[in-house]
Amino acid sequence: MTAEKPATAPSPVVNTVCYRLHLFVAGDQPNSRLARENLEQICQNYLVGRCEIAQTDVLDDFQVALEMGIYVTPALVVMEPEPQVTIFGNLRDTEKVLEALGVGGTEDG
């Protein structure tokens, strides 16, 4: 969760928004497993090289969930870019996830 942000200078490079994501799961419950797999897929397909993911298992560490107000899981919090967005669910609905991320429907990168 404290992963370093790549040192991208504020350069006028187009279409290289960096994503900082925080995934909340509950152990190995089916939806949590699915969420991990789906997020991995999405990152591979759409966000290669420009996304960092922190992960919290609420069963191990409820404190982070408490602080961030995550009461339903799985949940993906898009920390950056602003504004912060929360996505509930196992991320099966790729369209909706991409829409929330502000990523166009087509593959890029």
Binding site: N31, V58, Y71
Partner: protein, 502 residues
């Protein structure tokens, strides 16, 4: 009156220790005292320990405050608890609580209470299935960390809203309920209901062990909150509907229990402050009894009641005089005319005149206010002048309620109750029914005007003086500047009262 005095079990943890022994009592359920005045009496001890209680009601009925107050009082008593708010922000709750003088932050710092802001981000996107595992993890982690025994979830519909179908909501509720029981956590779930008889999640009523419904009704432009326990698995409870009020210090119920209770009659007789009237009564008034003085306007009710009050104060007793008809200065000044100077008693702190306008508030607020003063001031006698004004608070039915509950509460505490009642007609001697209270009254005195030779004379009749051999005759009396003087028309009774100086 005080909460938590009656309980059907005795394996209560007195010191908040985390363990309790369930096995020693197989028949009675273990309960957590709510410590809300009156509510533990209705619940026969409190809410079920380790089980779920549902509070349902419309907006503004006091669900949140009820849940919060149970937690707050438990926390003060050293039993930690958690409130998860899905409606208001934690900050707003803390602020509301502070207006009642409850410092939640202090208890939170002491690790006895935790208010969690569980509000779900309304802009959150749904992409696939999810569940309340995060909530359970937070609840489990937090309750283990502080040794919490009780959680309040306010309002559960605020959490359920995030799910797309009623089926999912139901599944999640069942999951939550099972989890709470497995973790031996007592819970209070609040839920909004459009009316007092239903909520959107009716199955919750079947699921939980205890169901409390709140509602708020307006009659005669005065609103009254009511509470009813509709279900309590494994325990008996009071089944009536009980009015309650949000007082400056919290919720307060006055259960109408024990109307049929036979109050222990006191043997102790005291003087009414006038030897002639004492004689008519057969001795005086019994302590902790209830007395009614009925009569038309101007017949001398307040004079006699003030005389009784002053005599009590002269014995060093404390009197609360609830005055519905006039202001305290007016009454004090007016009583100087029949020679009853109340000022020394007031200055000595033995007489408290509480002048209040009946229309100022509803019956519940009136009752709760008066009982609050009774509790703080601890009088030996309460005078209500005149009970007829109670009808102006709301309906006559509500007035009856008010009086019955006031009389019962006073008698339970050994306080004498003296009521005056304003009869409609100046020669009216029959309105003794006095709003249907007669069975509760030990002594009834009727004042009236008698017309004789085109002159009106005041007359006094002791209609009832339970346990005493009293005069059965009507006697004539005068109000002089030296007090009340009883004269007998047949001349067989020549007693002279001395205006309360006996």
């Amino acid at each position: 009156m005080r909460g938590g005095t009656r309980t059907v079990h005795d394996n209560q943890r007195a010191d908040g220790s985390p363990q309790h022994d369930r096995k020693t009592h197989l028949t009675a359920i273990d309960k957590i005292h709510t410590r809300i005045p009156g509510l533990d009496e209705v619940l026969h001890g409190g809410i079920p320990r380790g089980r779920a209680t549902l509070i349902s009601g419309g907006p503004g009925t006091g669900k949140t405050m009820l849940g919060l107050e149970v937690l707050y009082r438990a926390a003060l008593n050293g039993e930690p608890g958690i409130l998860v708010s899905f409606e208001e922000s934690a900050e707003a709750l803390r602020r509301n609580a502070l207006s009642l003088g409850w410092d939640l932050t202090e208890l939170e710092d002491a690790g006895k209470l935790r208010v969690l802001d569980g509000r779900i981000d309304p802009s959150a996107v749904r992409a696939g299935d999810f569940d309340i595992a995060g909530f359970l993890a937070i609840l489990g982690g937090q309750s283990a960390a502080m040794g919490a025994q009780c959680v309040v979830i306010d309002a559960i519909d605020g959490l359920l809203r995030v799910f797309a179908s009623l089926r999912q909501e139901r599944d999640q509720l069942e999951l939550l309920h099972r989890w709470l029981i497995e973790h031996e956590l007592a819970s209070i779930l609040t839920i909004k209901s459009p009316n007092s008889d239903s909520n959107s999640y009716d199955f919750l009523d079947y699921m939980v062990d205890c169901v409390i419904k709140l509602d708020q009704r307006v009659t005669g432009q005065i609103s009254t909150r009511r509470l009813r326990v509709v279900k309590y698995r494994g325990s008996n409870f009071e089944r009536n509907e009980y009015p309650f009020a949000m007082t400056p210090t919290g919720i307060r119920l006055v259960p109408i229990s024990g109307i049929e209770l036979v109050h222990e009659a006191s043997e102790d007789v005291f003087s009414v402050g006038n030897s002639a009237i004492d004689r008519l009564l057969g001795g005086g008034f019994f302590r902790a009894s209830s007395i009614l003085i009925s009569g038309a306007s101007g017949t001398g009710k307040t004079s006699i009641a003030s005389g009784v009050a002053r005599a009590a104060c002269e014995r060093g007793e404390k009197v609360l005089y609830v005055q519905f008809e006039e202001s305290s200065p007016t009454m004090v000044a007016r009583m100087l005319s029949p020679g009853i100077d109340l000022r020394p008693a007031i200055e000595a702190g033995l007489l408290l005149i509480d002048a209040v306008i009946p229309e100022a508030m509803g019956v519940e607020e009136h009752l709760i206010r008066v009982l609050g003063i009774v509790e703080d001031y601890a009088p030996d006698m309460v005078v209500v002048d005149a009970i007829t004004a109670a009808s102006r608070m709301s309906t006559s039915e509500a007035a009856y309620d008010f009086l019955v509950r006031l009389i019962n509460a006073c008698r339970r505490q050994g306080i004498t109750v003296l009521l005056t009642h304003q009869a409609q007609e100046i020669t009216d001697r029959t309105s003794v029914g006095a709003m249907g209270l007669s069975s509760l009254l030990d002594t009834v005195i009727i004042l009236s005007y008698e017309e004789e030779a085109e002159t009106l004379h005041r007359s006094i009749l002791v209609l009832k003086s339970r346990g005493m051999s009293h005069s059965l005759k009507r006697h004539r009396f005068e109000i002089t500047d030296a007090g009340i003087r009883v004269t007998d028309r047949e001349g067989d009774m020549q007693d002279r009262g001395e205006g309360g100086r006996s």
